[in-house]
Symmetry: C2
Subunit: 345 residues, 2 copies
Amino acid sequence: MTQPDITIYDIAKKLSLSAATVSRALNNNPAINAKTRKRVNDMAMEMGYRSNNFASNLRKGNTHTIGVLVHELKSNFITSVLAGIEKVTTEAGYDIIIAHSSERKEKEIANAHNLFHKRVDGLIASLAFDTENLDHFDPFFKKGIPVIFFDRVFEHTDFAQVIINNYRAAYDITSHLAKQGCKRIMHVTASLERNVYSERFKGYQQALKDNKLNYDKDLLITNQLSEEAGIQAAMQILAMRKRPDAVFVSNDFCAAVLMRTLQDNGVHIPKDIAVAGFNNDAVGKIVSPKLTTIDYPGIEMGEITARNLVNHLQGVSNLALTNKIIIKSELIIRESTLKKKPSQK
Amino acid sequence: MTQPDITIYDIAKKLSLSAATVSRALNNNPAINAKTRKRVNDMAMEMGYRSNNFASNLRKGNTHTIGVLVHELKSNFITSVLAGIEKVTTEAGYDIIIAHSSERKEKEIANAHNLFHKRVDGLIASLAFDTENLDHFDPFFKKGIPVIFFDRVFEHTDFAQVIINNYRAAYDITSHLAKQGCKRIMHVTASLERNVYSERFKGYQQALKDNKLNYDKDLLITNQLSEEAGIQAAMQILAMRKRPDAVFVSNDFCAAVLMRTLQDNGVHIPKDIAVAGFNNDAVGKIVSPKLTTIDYPGIEMGEITARNLVNHLQGVSNLALTNKIIIKSELIIRESTLKKKPSQK
DNA sequence: GTGAAAGCGCTAACAG
DNA sequence: CTGTTAGCGCTTTCAC
């Protein structure tokens, strides 16, 4: 049943050529006569030849494969980023291997090792919630394998990174809530160890200050931004003697769950409590009221990240020079935060 | 900067051993003295050795890699399945390569070829909307590389497959709607070429018949089950002279969008129109009213599929024998279809 | 318990 | 434009 594989030698023998010529022909080497090339390709097709990547990679020493290490697959944002990465890498002729850490640093470390052993030519990464350092990327740095981070990064380091201005986005959304007359604005977010969340927290605090509101530590909840976390945060709010009049959640899905739980317990949104999310996930347009959020262009982020890595690999540019790229993001105001009637007539 | 890689020869030389011994030691071959093994492993660590998969695979002739070809990544169901697959394959020591076709048969064909060339030891696949035949899997069949399909399959073929009883699930949901007093039950689904949708359609029709309702072809919409499709279907309903009093949508997300669009246009759910989805996506619990749906265990499906493939690869069982596995699914009734008050006191 | 030697399939000098 | 040759790094007989 399982007949042995066809190799270039088999093709060469059939056509009375050398293996080298067959190899060149299959790789569309221009040095080969067009007629010969066609004969080889036809014969390869006919014999059901498939090239042996292992032999080829072993010989060439590079894999034309890019590793993508993400913190989670179950996220609209991430799948958008992946689509962007895929578009660019496919066009450039690179394969990608996707690994995800499920937000756990242990798995991130294991994945980093695995991709290193798989000999990826370059790496694109977004860190897990609890990643504390970049030691597991050292093997890449040491071997000169380019690494570029996106979204979840260590800021203020020298490594190439593509991010949005989280500080600014959070500032905008918090200011918007303040402008709506909210006085007790809660912030539900994830580990402040991670740049995206710490920056948002800073933006939130600054906006409070600029709007003459005090920061109250009871108004900060950090959790996993999961479904359960959303329910729990809502419960916590319901139990408060002095409830907030607005909640800014760092993730649309969690915001939606939180909002729903509050509603199920008789809270009116946005009248009693305004709710805002982050990411412009599709879910924000389905819930009622529709969710105010930050639009955060995943596809574009993926494309830009991959483009930079590919350019580096192709020697067109150097990652070490372009070390930080900031992508635009935008506040989208919907009903979930509109306490006042829209002022425009 | 980029110092050359360490090989087993480098380790062998340092320890005055042969490369063969080093190789065996690294692979924990019991024939090797425990002391020698430790010396080798320590030295490997110290020198920063990483094994060369290409050389190893080239030599061994198998890759210990399983290809996973899915119709779409942006789906909660699929990411659950992937989690299940990953769990089982990781435990069994297999790597996986994930490829997705974005519901397009051209890309599915290209991916199948690609995975074939990557020499996966086995393949797990779920078909795209418009896949018409299994010709692109022929190379696998011919070479005796095991292929197992899940969810989106060609039914009534001899290939190994893991599915749910779509007929039954649709029958249940449609009957439930009929029991709620609905007389004009619409069905919004995707290409009837694909088993999952054709089976659901059959179940829907049979339930209508068994409940003495006529099937009206105006009450069938087939689309892509996307966000836009949901909006468009809702618009179509709004424009109907004789509107349905229930809609059974083949996907929760699309159902939610459709429901929301109807609501935005003054339709009361479930009073005017009941809405049911399929998949038990998290979104169903966020929307208002909460969505009636079919629970469809993604993780389990992934685990069972992978387990069967791995067992086959390890010679424990034979895929050719266990050719169809049906996983349980379950109707979950929520407010979006409750026209009558729950009858239980 | 360890070593010698061959070869997996391919590509890149080099030669002509 | 095509052929010869060597070798990528590993595993696996077959010896001893």
